[in-house]
């Protein structure tokens, strides 16, 4: 293992020598709008670029996740998956054209997840440049329908229908360099819709205001006593409603996530919030609907799992300090299917989910070297004999 670890600092310089191609891929991929459920154009370009870089196979699965396969030298070793989600939170009429400065790239979706996707399609060329061949097939998957209401459908389908065992996986995110995610919290993502009929009904002495009703729901959620162990929280993430300053709001929406490292606790908090919503609906005589958008089970590999230990060693060799936290992304689907996996970040940036998000160019080569180090670790067998708990 030390053998490849020692090569990693040298990899950084080689990767830097084809930085133009990597940035070109980031830009060409990222400039194609790909809001969740509308990733087709980006998926097509993803395939085109992979084909141009001459992967051995280039196809889509039954769910239209685009996939490229680089054949390994071994007939018997299971494949290693490298994945990045294709979709973004931005609608297609938002300006997706990127600006490149001396040290940075700026534009909508660059941090979530154009850098990840661009690096993914660059990997065949990077492997070639580094002279790397792997025992396992390397499956490069740009998964669709990941974010928000997408509910990780792309990766769920890909893994559900993949016929053979999977040796291990690396999930790529643009930011932040140094992240090392190896566990996923249990999570339920919900939306509450409040709709009030604009026509007066006999039951309302005073017309209720949808925004104020949602506000009451928020206040009651905030009153919930959440345990520190199992670690649990409710994140109020989205809120919208009304249409004019001087008119009572007839509709309002609240989006939130319940997160905990215990599935049981997630369920229990969910039930409490459901009670809050039913109670508020009854007391205010309004229509409150609770919708579950996404549900992920808590799953993890331990810190002393060889994949995590190898990832830490790779990062330290590249002078990176690993920072760990839960991740509710493709990682959770791998882990819930007992496939050892980690999520890694490629570079640093600012304005994460804003249209003027910006990433640093300089760290990208190191971020990629780290990903390659972890792929090499998996290929050397660190995931082969350690089943997940």
């Amino acid at each position: 293992m030390d053998n490849y670890i020692d090569k990693l600092p040298g990899f950084v310089d080689t990767i830097k020598s084809i930085e133009e191609t990597i940035i070109t891929n980031i830009v060409l991929m990222g400039q194609i709008p790909a809001p969740t459920f509308k990733e087709k154009r980006r998926a097509n370009i993803f395939m085109e670029r992979l084909a141009e870089f001459q992967v051995d196979e280039c196809t889509t699965d039954g769910y239209r996740n685009p996939i490229g396969i680089i054949k390994g030298t071994s007939e018997s070793k299971p494949p290693i998956f490298v994945v990045a989600h294709l979709d973004t939170v931005f609608s297609k009429d938002i300006d997706h054209y990127y600006s490149i400065q001396e040290k940075s790239i700026t534009g909508a979706g660059i941090m979530d997840n154009s850098v990840g996707v661009g690096v993914l399609v660059s990997l065949p060329e990077i492997f070639r440049k580094l002279g790397l061949r792997f025992e396992s097939d390397i499956v490069l998957a740009g998964v669709i329908q990941s974010l928000g209401k997408g509910n990780l459908r792309g990766i769920r389908h890909l893994l559900k229908t993949w016929a053979t065992p999977i040796r291990g996986a690396v999930c790529i995110e643009a930011a932040e360099l140094g992240r090392l995610n190896y566990y996923a919290d249990g999570m339920i993502r919900c939306e509450v819709d409040c709709n009030i009929s604009p026509v007066d009904g006999w039951e309302h002495k005073f017309k209720p205001n949808a925004i104020l009703v949602i506000n009451e729901v928020i206040n009651q959620i905030l009153k919930l006593r959440l345990p520190q162990k199992p670690r649990s929280r409710v994140i109020i993430g989205k809120n919208s409603g009304g249409f004019k300053h001087g008119v009572i709001a007839y509709d309002a929406t609240l989006g939130f996530e319940i997160q905990s490292n215990s599935d049981k606790m997630v369920k229990s908090i969910f039930n409490s919030i459901k009670d809050i919503i039913e109670g508020t609906s009854h007391e205010y005589e309004v229509d409150l609907k609770l919708k579950t958008l996404s549900n992920i089970h808590a799953a993890r590999i331990k810190f002393n799992h060889p994949l995590v230990k190898s990832s830490v060693a790779v990062m330290k060799k590249l002078d990176l300090t690993p920072v760990s936290g839960p991740s509710e992304s493709e990682l959770s689907i791998f882990l819930s299917r007992k496939i050892p996996a980690v999520t890694l970040g490629i570079t640093r940036g600012v304005n994460y989910h804003q249209q003027n998000a910006s990433v640093e160019i300089e760290p990208i080569s190191k971020g990629i070297a780290q990903i390659i180090g972890v792929i090499m670790a998996i290929d050397s067998g660190v995931c082969d004999e350690h089943l997940l708990d």
């Binding site: 133009e20 940035i23 070109t24 009429d93 990127y98 600006s99 490149i100 400065q101």
Partner: protein
């Protein structure tokens, strides 16, 4: 009027996506190709253009031999950024410094002929937000593959960027439709087949560019078409659909100035060809009015209409490229 040209010489960039074939033909014909980007304060877009072209058409497919930026004297970081991303960068004023100094896109294109090495030169505007290497290989395809074609012009479906971040799907080409097309229809109906004569992206053989004059300002695209048409005829032209081009929108006043310069160029060409004989002097000032404190104030913009002669007439050029005038 010969209208078969539009069928024969109009292409879509997708006909030239086999870049290996272009590389092979280029090598077989022993051609050198230069990409020239004329700039003035383009720090927001220049890096992306250089980087994508370099990656795709130099590193991966050796189609371009050099990328040259000729700058009109940007006050922003354009030159540093361009140099940082590997282009050869020149200030227009530093090229052939003994000649009188002018400022304008045409001046940059003309001077680029002196500093570039290529047998074929591709000119791309430096403000293309959706730059893609098709902008270069699309223009180069007909020049590399077909010996009779010497000059290729781009045309597009051109959305205009509006506001901060929204894009609307149609628009652009106002000067073309309101000025150039009526003029061409009146005097050179064959040329109406060129769908976007003012597009800023074109490529051609050096032997064409070195033998025509270059207006220093806006008139350069019009003059190029008229002069090449006059000397070599329409059959050396081709046009390529490059799909979409996202560019900055210009206000009507700016388009007015552009139209003035184009008309100047057009009239000059017609006089030269003996097609018209103006008895009276033409003025060189574009006058527009502003309402300031209830008074109409003229805004006078001088457009001299200077032109550079065919560069083959410049001794330094002849010496450098071993040409005979």
């Amino acid at each position: 009027m010969n209208i078969s040209w539009i069928k024969k010489n109009t292409f879509h960039y997708s006909e030239f996506t086999d870049l290996t074939r272009l590389v092979d033909e280029k090598q077989r014909k022993n051609l050198k190709i230069s990409l020239c980007l004329p700039t003035l304060n383009e720090e927001k877009t220049i890096a992306k253009e250089i980087l994508i072209m370099k990656s795709e058409l130099m590193t991966r497919y050796p189609i371009l031999d050099e990328i040259v930026v000729v700058d009109s004297g940007s006050t922003d970081n354009t030159r540093n950024i361009a140099r940082g991303y590997g282009a050869d960068v020149y200030k227009a004023a530093d090229i052939l410094p003994d000649l009188a100094n002018f400022k304008g896109k045409g001046e940059n294109l003309w001077k680029a002929l002196y500093v570039t090495q290529g047998d074929i030169i591709v000119y791309l505007d430096a403000d293309i937000k959706n730059i893609h290497h098709r902008f270069a290989y699309g223009l180069l395809g007909p020049l590399i593959l077909f010996d009779n074609i010497k000059y290729v012009k781009a045309f597009y479906d051109r959305p205009i960027a509006i506001g901060k971040s929204k894009i609307r799907p149609t628009g652009g080409g106002r000067v073309t439709e309101l000025l150039i097309r009526p003029l061409f229809s009146l005097y050179f109906p064959e040329l109406t087949q060129i769908l976007q004569p003012l597009s800023g992206e074109y490529a051609g053989h050096r032997e064409i560019f070195e033998n025509i004059p270059f207006p220093i300002g806006y008139g350069v695209e019009t003059s190029m078409i008229l002069d090449i048409y006059e000397k070599w005829g329409l059959d050396v032209f081709a046009q390529v659909d490059l799909d979409r081009r996202i560019h900055r929108n210009q206000d009507t006043r700016a388009l007015g100035k552009m139209s003035f310069a184009i008309l100047q160029t057009f009239i000059k060409r017609k006089k030269k060809l003996g097609m018209v004989d103006y008895k009276e002097k033409l003025y060189n000032e574009m006058i527009q009015y502003n309402l300031i404190k209830n008074e109409f104030e003229p805004d006078i913009y001088k457009i001299e209409g200077h032109e550079r002669p065919p560069i083959i007439e410049i001794p330094e050029y002849r010496e450098k490229f071993k040409r005979i005038s």
